[in-house]
């Protein structure tokens, strides 16, 4: 058995529209080891959520994966039928979404939702499933779990609801959890608690996580490795510490400098001029070229290939040219 749990190779996601084919995800490749937390970070429209959804076959038609492969634990899952995919979702791959109120059914108690999910995937009696559900709720830090399990979602606060959603994702003991902006709807003091729960649960259960967020702070706190997405492509991927401290791609560099921090003292933030190109009018060549301070002629005509630099992989002509500038 290899160490790699999830392997995504050259994945392409297209959305056919009246105005032609829109490529939301463009040849994205990465590997995820067991128990590892991989952050997917990027601005809105960078393709991070679509990447997450594509892995578990949740792309809304007419969108579809039109290229590349996804392997989960060695077996290919991107070409499975609806029914087979449904069996993987929830059992082997759990999901946590941004808004905990919309991912829980307001008409059923937490108990009902947890027990139903557990019994769908595991062969347990009602009683055993209930005991497992209470155990999970205790693990994610819900006080008096044996009583609160019979409450409805609206009786929980935002942070508590997100804990319930995490418990729900862990129900069947999945190997992978895809968490799409799990803390964005929460306040900062609650956010740090939820990140802790997610990290602790995954460490204890040996679950790998794909953490999708726009917040570099969350990545720095929670992830082992990070992939920076820009306009549907991975600009840079590598260990968190290296990407944050010694970013190589000009976009990552600019991004890190443009975030105000508690420690920095200078008056002006470094800003990246312009905005990410819309999906409908991506430039030829490198998508970041129009905003890049180190742009060369080749950047405007040719898309940069991904190169290994140390422990990171970077898609930038500056690296291919051996740092020519």
């Amino acid at each position: 058995m290899s160490d790699v749990l999830l392997s995504v190779r050259d994945m392409v996601v297209d959305f056919p529209t009246r105005h032609g084919l829109l490529r939301a995800v463009d040849h994205v490749s990465f590997d995820l080891s067991r128990g590892e937390v991989l952050g997917l970070v990027g601005e809105s429209g960078a393709g991070k959520s679509i990447t997450g959804a594509a892995i578990i076959g949740l792309i809304e038609p007419p969108g579809h994966i039109s290229g590349g492969t996804v392997h989960l634990d060695g077996s290919r899952i991107d070409n499975l039928g609806m029914e087979e995919m449904r069996r993987i979702r929830g059992k082997r791959v759990g999901m946590v979404f941004q808004d905990p109120l919309t991912s829980l059914n307001p008409l059923y108690t937490i108990a009902k939702q947890l027990i139903q999910t557990i019994r769908t995937h595991l062969d347990l009696t009602e009683k055993q499933a209930r005991a497992r559900a209470i155990g999970l709720l205790e693990e994610v830090g819900i006080p008096a779990a044996d009583k609160r399990i019979d409450d409805y979602p609206h009786q929980f606060s935002g942070g508590m609801r997100q804990r319930v959603v995490i418990a729900l994702a862990l129900c069947a003991g999945p190997e992978l959890i895809i968490a799409d902006e799990p803390t964005t709807a929460l306040d900062v003091s609650v956010q740090s608690q939820i990140i802790d729960v997610l990290k602790r649960m995954c460490a204890e259960h040996g679950t790998a996580v794909i953490l999708i967020t726009h917040d570099m702070g969350v990545i720095a706190e929670a992830a082992d490795r990070v992939a920076v997405l820009y306009s549907g492509r991975i600009a840079e991927i590598g260990p968190v510490r290296e990407v944050i401290k010694q970013a190589k791609h000009p976009y990552t560099k600019g991004l890190m400098r443009s975030i105000p921090t508690l420690t920095q003292t200078n008056d002006r933030l470094t800003q990246i001029p312009g905005t990410m190109p819309r999906i409908t009018d991506r430039p030829e060549g490198c998508a970041f070229a129009p905003r890049c301070g180190h742009v060369m002629d080749i950047c405007r005509s040719q898309q940069p290939a991904t190169r290994s630099v140390g422990n990171c992989e970077v898609a930038c002509h500056l690296e291919t040219e051996g740092g020519a500038s």
Partner: protein, 326 residues
């Protein structure tokens, strides 16, 4: 002329969230009141950026809306440039209202989608009778567009043709068109991506330097607040728990809640600083805890805190409402 541009004294806002009269009668229920803002007093000096921070439900936006007159205060007074806003005649209010403006959080909701950008920006000019001649206001709109980093020819476009950051620039241009002195900014960058956020924050600081603006800056993001503000007020469940100089607050937070908020900010540069983890969540404001409303989450709380509401104590370090603060 006083040093303070805006003075708020004992401001409160109570929302009545009771059931209808008949239901109350049948179900024998009392009225239910939500105290969104509770006896808040603060002063904002000319030319400074005063930030209000707090979690959702702490009353930040309610205060902003009361200041600009979108919500009436339940009690307390708001003085702008020494004038009590509640006592002004409608005509006098018109003149005063020109001098303060507001930037909203969501640039997708705050611009009329059916209006051209030019008309959006010129609306305050028309309202306050500042652009009497057509050509005159046209020139001013063009100037404003260039000022916020757009081009004059963008004036004939519609809001949907712009990205989030550009729309926020349009909102800023609209605010500036009536030449205000004071701008209330309610989470102006929360809906924007980080790389765009930096552009807008820089623009706001440049405009402040150029026009001597005073900002009330509302945000939940402490890193942004630290970057923008001279002074900071921390709100918790509708009460001001600490006010102090920005630098001082980040160096030496005095209220346990402020300390908790600072601890919760992610360690972006992975300095490995040791952190005490935040506990609990903001309670339901309909049934707030007794005494100091922070006591269920506070590591220092004792019986005294549970029974008594701590008064705001002013000192040369700032103001803090905590029995345990030193």
């Amino acid at each position: 002329m006083s040093d303070n541009l805006l003075e708020i004294k004992d401001l409160s806002r109570i929302f009545d969230i009771s059931k209808p009269w008949l239901n109350r009668l049948i179900e024998r229920e009392d009225r239910r009141l939500l105290r969104a803002v509770n006896d808040v007093s603060l002063n904002i000096k000319r030319g400074e950026t005063f930030a209000l921070v707090g979690e959702s439900g702490s009353g930040k936006s309610t205060i902003a809306k009361m200041i600009v007159g979108l919500l009436a205060a339940s009690s307390g007074e708001i003085r702008f440039d020494g004038v009590n806003l509640a006592e002004q005649s409608p005509t006098a209010m018109r003149n005063i209202r020109r001098r303060y403006q507001m930037i909203f959080q969501d640039p997708f909701a705050s611009l009329n989608p059916r209006w051209r950008v030019r008309d959006i920006i010129a609306e305050p000019l028309r309202k306050f009778g500042m652009g009497d001649m057509e050509g005159n206001s046209q020139k001013r709109v063009d100037e404003l567009l260039e000022l916020v980093g757009l081009s004059a020819k963008d004036g004939s476009k519609f809001p949907h043709e712009f990205s989030g950051g550009q729309r926020q620039r349009i909102a800023i241009a609209r605010v500036l068109s009536s030449k205000p002195e004071f701008i209330v900014c309610d989470e102006p960058t929360s809906a924007l991506d980080v790389s765009v956020q930096a552009q807008i924050l820089n623009l706001m600081r440049d405009l402040q330097d150029d026009f001597g603006l005073t900002y009330l800056f509302i945000s939940h993001d402490l890193s942004v607040v630290r970057h923008m503000a001279n002074r900071i007020g921390v709100l918790y469940l509708g009460r001001l728990v600490e006010v102090s100089d920005s630098k001082e607050m980040f160096r030496n937070p005095r209220h346990p809640y402020t300390q908790m908020l600072l601890e919760a900010v992610p360690d972006l540069h992975m300095t490995g600083r040791t952190r005490v983890k935040a506990a609990g969540e903001i309670p339901n404001p309909i049934t707030p805890p007794s005494g100091c409303t922070f006591h269920p989450r506070c590591p220092l709380a004792d019986a005294h805190c549970k029974a008594n509401i701590p008064p705001v104590v002013e000192s040369n370090l700032g103001a803090v409402a905590c029995f345990k603060a030193t």
